[in-house]
């Protein structure tokens, strides 16, 4: 089934490693910061805003695992089930609106 996919990967892996040229590299391996000397560690304190975006994304992502089977079965479920799913989706929307209200979706 997904053997083809695996093979594709293998082929690309081999091809790409064959393609790579092996040139000797000089001592220009410094970190590139527009030609400036690197100041300080790579240690930068990141803001948790990134985390919150990822968090909202994860929760919308897992909802897909439940909604996709429902969508496949859509033709054989009664109207009531559709309303159930509507409630499901509305709760998600409520979560999004909460995040919006809290102002965490605002990029500063």
């Amino acid at each position: 089934m997904i053997v083809t996919a695996a093979l594709l990967m293998g082929v690309t892996l081999i091809a790409a490693s064959l393609l790579r040229p092996k040139k000797p590299s000089k001592t220009k391996l410094d970190t590139y910061e527009c030609g400036m000397e690197t100041v300080g560690d790579t240690w930068v304190q990141f803001r948790s805003q990134y985390y919150i975006f990822a968090l909202v994304f994860v929760l919308f992502d897992v909802e897909a695992v439940l909604l996709f089977p429902f969508a496949v079965a859509f033709n054989s479920v009664p109207l009531f089930a559709v309303l159930e799913t509507a409630v499901f989706v509305l709760l998600l929307l409520a979560g999004l609106l909460y995040a919006w209200r809290k102002g965490v979706l605002k990029w500063e």
């Binding site: 040139k23 970190t31 996709f68």
Partner: protein, 417 residues
């Protein structure tokens, strides 16, 4: 005529028969070899289309900007991609001394591999598909999200704070735009009742008593949102604000050079083409079309969609980072959810097959009427949402201008005093 239509699958059968007759002692080995060959052909196709696309894009964007574009290498600059390739091959490949070597070297590889694996499920003609997974759409979206890891690897492996910051920002863009993609694929799955790309295409043809109406006519809102989030998902202009080569050094791939950089580039283009193909399959009926053979139809449609990408790239200015996030979380996602709700209920209430009516009830209408109802609902949602968004944007701008005017007055007063 029939020969032309099935040309690809005939060639495939021919090759597969030859291999089977050579390895007649073991059918499974022959199968494996055939699959390997198919994989190699798909990879080659993707790589060749990458070369062709870079040339086409440079030419077309040049025309839009009133330039000539590549014209030195070969006639009309046709050999330009080849020259670029040779340049990339012979460029020195540096690895920063402080880099996390394994992570750094694996990242471009993984991006390219993930981009190429998408092609395994794309149907080029009725019988020409790498593998007809029964979870095709889901597979394509999941593979797309898998490459995000590679971006984080590149950012971390470079051991460069700008690369890491760039990776963080790129990832927060990519994950964001995946949500509207998921939400807008759902109505199409509902109407097709399957995740397989072949079934989704069949739903849009005249096969099995279907109406032959492309999904674009059912869900125009989904089509628009899917297309735009697809562009954002592949980080193409106008969404390339995180690797804007004319403004900042680059995003997560500052430290990469030579062939590794080329692999990132390849991943980007191959992904963009995959989005174009997916748009064709989901909304434009894939390979379906009269007279011309199916694969020609698919390529034509994909070319049209990709031209739209290039057009947008040549026309629109880059958007700001806060606009990019607002557009996704405060416009696309809520609008897609509301659209999903509306189309879910309408699809259930109005059915166009008698058996469906018996099974789950509803109102029986003709396929055309059903399409019209859904089209009107979807388009209305789009228009209303656009109206509200435009109103809000205007209010915000007015408020901003007021603040600016007030500040200007104060400044003048201060200067006068």
């Amino acid at each position: 005529m029939n020969f032309l239509t099935d040309l690809l699958s005939l060639i495939g059968d021919f090759i597969s028969n030859i291999i089977h007759s050579i390895f007649s002692f073991s059918p499974s080995i022959a199968d494996a070899i055939v699959m390997g060959l198919a994989a190699i052909i798909l990879c080659t196709f993707a790589a060749l289309s990458f070369m062709a696309l870079t040339y086409a894009e440079r030419k077309i964007v040049a025309r839009i900007q009133d330039r000539v574009g590549p014209n030195q290498a070969g006639p009309l600059g046709l050999l330009q991609p080849l020259a670029d390739g040779i340049k990339m091959f012979t460029k020195e490949d540096t690895t920063p001394a402080a880099a996390d070597r394994w992570v750094y070297n694996l990242a471009p590889l993984i991006i390219a591999v993930f981009a190429l694996t998408t092609y395994a499920v794309l149907p080029f003609a009725p019988n020409v598909v790498g593998t007809n997974l029964n979870v095709g759409v889901f597979y394509v979206i999941a593979i797309g999200s898998g490459s995000i890891i590679a971006i984080l690897m590149a950012g971390w492996g470079s051991n460069n704070k700008y690369a890491l910051l760039g990776a963080f920002r790129t990832v927060s863009q990519l994950v964001g735009y995946e949500v509207p993609m998921l939400l807008n694929v759902l109505p199409i799955i509902m109407i097709s009742g399957s995740l397989s790309l072949i079934d989704i295409i069949n739903r849009q043809t005249l096969a099995n008593g279907n109406a032959g109406l492309p999904n674009l006519l059912y869900f125009p809102l989904s089509a628009v949102v899917f297309l735009i989030s697809g562009i954002a998902e592949t980080a193409r202009s106008p969404f390339d604000l995180l690797e804007a080569e004319s403004e900042i050094v680059a995003g997560f791939h500052v430290e990469y050079s030579g062939m590794k950089f080329a692999l990132f580039f390849l991943g980007e283009y191959v992904n963009a083409l995959a989005v174009a193909f997916m748009f064709c399959v989901l909304f434009l009926g894939g390979y379906a079309g009269p007279i011309l053979p199916p694969y020609i139809w698919l390529l034509l449609k994909a070319a049209v969609v990709f031209t739209i990408f290039m057009w947008l790239r040549g026309t629109l200015p880059r958007i700001r980072v806060d606009q990019m996030h607002d557009m996704n979380w405060k416009f696309f996602v809520p609008v897609s959810i509301i659209h999903l709700l509306i189309s879910m209920v309408l699809l259930k209430v109005f059915t166009d097959t008698p058996s469906q009516l018996e099974a789950t009830g509803g109102i029986l209408v003709s396929s055309g009427t059903r399409m019209l109802i859904l089209f009107v609902a979807s388009a209305l949602t789009l228009l209303v949402a656009l109206g509200i968004a435009a109103r809000r944007a205007r209010m915000n701008r007015l408020a901003e201008e007021e603040v600016l005017a007030k500040r200007r007055m104060e400044n003048m007063a201060a200067a006068g005093a």
